[in-house]
């Protein structure tokens, strides 16, 4: 790590003097292809010190596995079929004997460090922020001159702030007590959890009983700053839990919503519900494959196509099942359990025969990868945020369909009294088909969401079926609002219990909670009261 920092300084200092194209000495490159780790690191540092375009290219290539070497030690930057030789500045077709240079974490760390040092002066604001944040991790007094320099040039207040904190963190180790004290004070405004250990360290004692921080004034300041920081962190922690709970809740909700229709409304104990989720997820996979194959440029948009596709595919599967099998079983709810269990076995095995027993790969589109850091240390990942909003959107749509349309009225009427609905002129067969199709289609949408969080395999549904039933029942069968509240409630309870009890006991506690809760409300959260229930 030491070397890398020195390089950082030198490289940064040289950066504004980016020299004109100068081919890199092959002797400098050769160790990169070698076996000796220390030599490679040294080479990276030397290359970084060049601080020119080629150096940047090479480091970037190294970081993205695009740097190749030939058996004779020639190093090439390979882009598909073309290879750029930094030693000669020539671009040639990739030779057959070129082999990728492997990078391990240590080397990658060095490369990234070098790159972020270079980036601190980049014109791109995002890159600068990232580089400054990166520096926070390694804040070291040796870096202070460099950072001060960057700070001097920096006009963006946000980045200035970060850099100031980096300096302050580094100054905690300053030999001058006043500087240390000032540093501690500066950090009082920080929201970064990472500085906590360093502050805490000031209060620790040496083995001989003396304080590590000799100056009591600094210690008092440290206690105060720690207090501020801890309060902030506690808030962040709380908000984090709330967010995680909502996020888990929205997953549960999406998993359960289709079931709330097929089971809650139609009374079909749909054990194949999980498999419908799975089909939705596999449809997403197929869409992604198609995009990869035919529209690689628009790959990020595959999800938008996957949503309608999954809805249509699962709804179609549902309609087929309903017409072929389930329509004979209305009024015999318990038989539907047996039947859909059989269907679930068949669907699973079908997927296994077509796609194999292994999971398939569904990648988050780039706009759903990563996350946004809020309040200093809380990362909210994009995919979770998207899914929360998606869940709310789907709920709203379902609610509108069921409560504000004539179709919804017919659906509810048929589910309550099939024979009478037919007598007033509702084609019950059609309504059954559409309702089941809708429920299944919504399960398919749930599957799309799940594919963004977990694995996509033939067993996907099995992991969600029990939870889905719990959510629907806890909310009160046939009560959409209940399902929503139950899902978010379970999510929150889970996420607040987990840090206390660990994931396993939290899960057990949740189950016990459900059992106890149902004692209090034997018809679920949103029980109907009165005569109409009988």
């Amino acid at each position: 790590m030491k070397i890398s920092k020195k390089i950082l300084i030198t490289s940064a200092l040289c950066l504004h003097a980016l020299l004109a194209q100068a081919a890199i000495d092959p002797a400098l490159l050769k160790p990169l292809a070698g076996e000796d780790p220390d030599a490679r690191i040294a080479a990276v540092n030397q290359i970084a010190a060049l601080a020119n375009d080629d150096a940047l290219k090479i480091l970037n290539a190294l970081n993205t596995d695009a740097l190749y070497a030939r058996p004779d030690g020639t190093v090439l930057i390979v882009d598909d079929t073309k290879a750029f030789n930094p030693a000669t500045d020539q671009t040639l077709p990739t030779p057959d004997d070129a082999d990728g240079i492997s990078v391990n974490n240590r080397l990658r760390g060095v490369v990234e460090g070098a790159l972020s040092g270079l980036k601190l002066f980049s014109p791109n604001r995002k890159l600068r922020i990232a580089a400054a944040t990166d520096l926070m991790k390694t804040a070291d007094p040796a870096q202070i001159p460099l950072i001060s320099k960057a700070l001097h040039k920096e006009s963006d207040p946000e980045i200035q702030d970060i850099l100031q904190q980096v300096i302050a963190t580094a100054n905690l180790h300053s030999p001058d007590a006043a500087t240390r004290k000032a540093a501690v004070q500066t950090l009082a405004g920080s929201t970064n959890a990472n500085i906590r250990p360093a502050l805490q360290n000031l209060l620790n004692k040496n083995p001989d009983g003396s304080y590590i921080e000799a100056d009591p004034a600094v210690r008092i300041e440290a206690v105060r700053t720690l207090g501020v920081l801890d309060r902030h962190l506690a808030t962040v922690d709380f908000i984090g839990k709330v967010f995680y709970g909502i996020s888990l809740g929205s997953v549960l909700l999406l998993a359960a919503l289709g079931l709330a229709i097929t089971f809650g409304l139609m009374g079909i104990i749909n054990m194949a519900h999980g498999e419908l989720l799975m089909i939705g997820a596999y449809t997403t996979y197929m869409c992604q494959l198609l995009f990869r194959q035919y529209f690689p440029a628009a790959l990020d948009g595959y999800l938008l196509v996957a949503l309608p596709a999954a809805f249509i595919v699962t709804a179609a599967v549902g309609i087929v099942l309903e017409r072929l099998v389930l329509r004979w079983l209305y009024g015999r709810p318990l038989e539907t359990l047996l039947c859909t269990w059989g269907i679930s076995l068949i669907l699973m095995q079908t997927v296994r025969s077509i796609f194999g027993a292994q999971n398939v790969e569904v990648a988050n589109p780039s706009w759903m990868s990563g996350g946004v850091t809020v309040l200093g240390s809380l990362v909210l990942s994009y995919n979770r945020i998207v899914i929360i909003f998606f869940a709310l959107f789907v709920v709203l749509a379902v609610w509108l369909i069921l409560n504000k349309t004539r179709l919804g009225l017919f659906v509810r009427a048929v589910m309550q009294n099939r024979r009478m609905a037919a007598c007033v002129g509702v084609s019950t067969g059609k309504i059954d088909m559409m309702t089941f199709g809708l429920g299944c289609g919504i399960a398919g949408l749930g599957g799309v969401a799940l594919s963004q969080l977990g694995n996509v395999g033939p067993d996907l549904g099995q992991g969600y079926i029990v939870d889905s039933f719990m959510v629907v029942v806890l909310g009160g069968v046939g009560q959409l609002a209940g399902t929503v509240i139950a899902a978010f409630g379970l999510g929150e309870v889970n996420k607040f219990l987990e840090p206390m009890a660990g994931a396993v006991l939290a899960k057990i506690a949740i189950l016990v909670f459900i059992i106890v809760f149902i004692q209090k409300r034997p018809q679920g959260l949103f029980a109907l009261k009165g005569r109409s229930v009988e």
């Binding site: 250990p197 027993a357 292994q358 996350g371 990362v379 995919n383 996509v456 996420k495």
Partner: protein, 389 residues
Amino acid sequence: ADTIKIGILHSLSGTMAISETSLKDVALMTIDEINANGGVLGKKLEPVVVDPASNWPLFAEKARQLISQDKVSVVFGCWTSVSRKSVLPVFKELNSLLFYPVQYEGEELEKNVFYTGAAPNQQAIPATEYLMSKEGGGAKRFVLLGTDYVYPRTTNKILRAFLHSKGVKDSDIDEVYTPFGHSDYQTIVANIKKFSAGGKTAVISTINGDSNVPFYKELGNAGLKATDVPVVAFSVGEEELRGVDAKPLVGHLAAWNYFESVKNPVNTAFIKKWKAYALAKNLPNAATVVTNDPMEATYVGIYMWKQAVEKAKSTDTDKVIAAMAGQKFKAPSGYELEMDATNHHLHKPVMIGEIKADGQFNVVNKTKTTIRAQPWSPYIPGNEGKQKL
């Protein structure tokens, strides 16, 4: 009979199918290959495939069926420890042979079983040593993250003892467990992040099966990169990575005794055969099949058994067991593996790989020679001197 029957006892349905199906296919491929080269003792091998459906009592039933109804000479199968524990009494009672191809927690040694996967000292400990080394990032703090069942618990117990012996304090070790099928890692990842503020941290993951994908996805989205907090896993291999978008995982590690990316002629041939077989048999996703450690272990196991049968000139269980001792085989890992003369485990090399964006591994460290298995971990008290049958 003019054929020798071989039982294949891997789940083709249920939760374990995801891992075990390809082992069945590799076994069939190997048998085909042996048959094409004249079989064993002049007889063709005849595979008998059954599906124990990830159901442990069914494993015992199927084992009994294979041995007593189908009269197989040997069985290749099982993945989870509990499935092995479930069939053990049957193999003992009927005195038959099982080859078990998967890494496991050790603490077992049975006359009727040959273990061709890794014992903890052939996987977990070298991996931890690597993480602590300069090359591996010099980790000082460790999160031991696992699914709550026997293998992770035992492995972590061994690891904790090992870490203690290396001077790591309990306050620098965090042991976290999740239930089976856990899929929400938000809290855990947030906690890892918090924990890692206290010094260079590495995660040693014994998360089982399907839970890996959500864990890695969460990790990637939370912005924890391998250069910050490397994760080393003992049950993530090439096959598992087929189902993950590997780009966010680049740099995380796995420890095995074999990687597909190992370069040597035996491996090249092995991979080629496997790809050709997958295409010929029209396996699902045949175009993208990969090889992995348990597949290699299955392959090695079948060949070693063949050699032993030829040496013993019989398929009689006791004779084959005797002949197995010291069998050697040039394995796709590039090493000559040897069946230990006394403890029924293979001497294996240990390799550490970093995940690459294409789902393959970049082997960053491997032992010079093969290592003898210690099924009874010296880190568990009371195990001293318990290395033989």
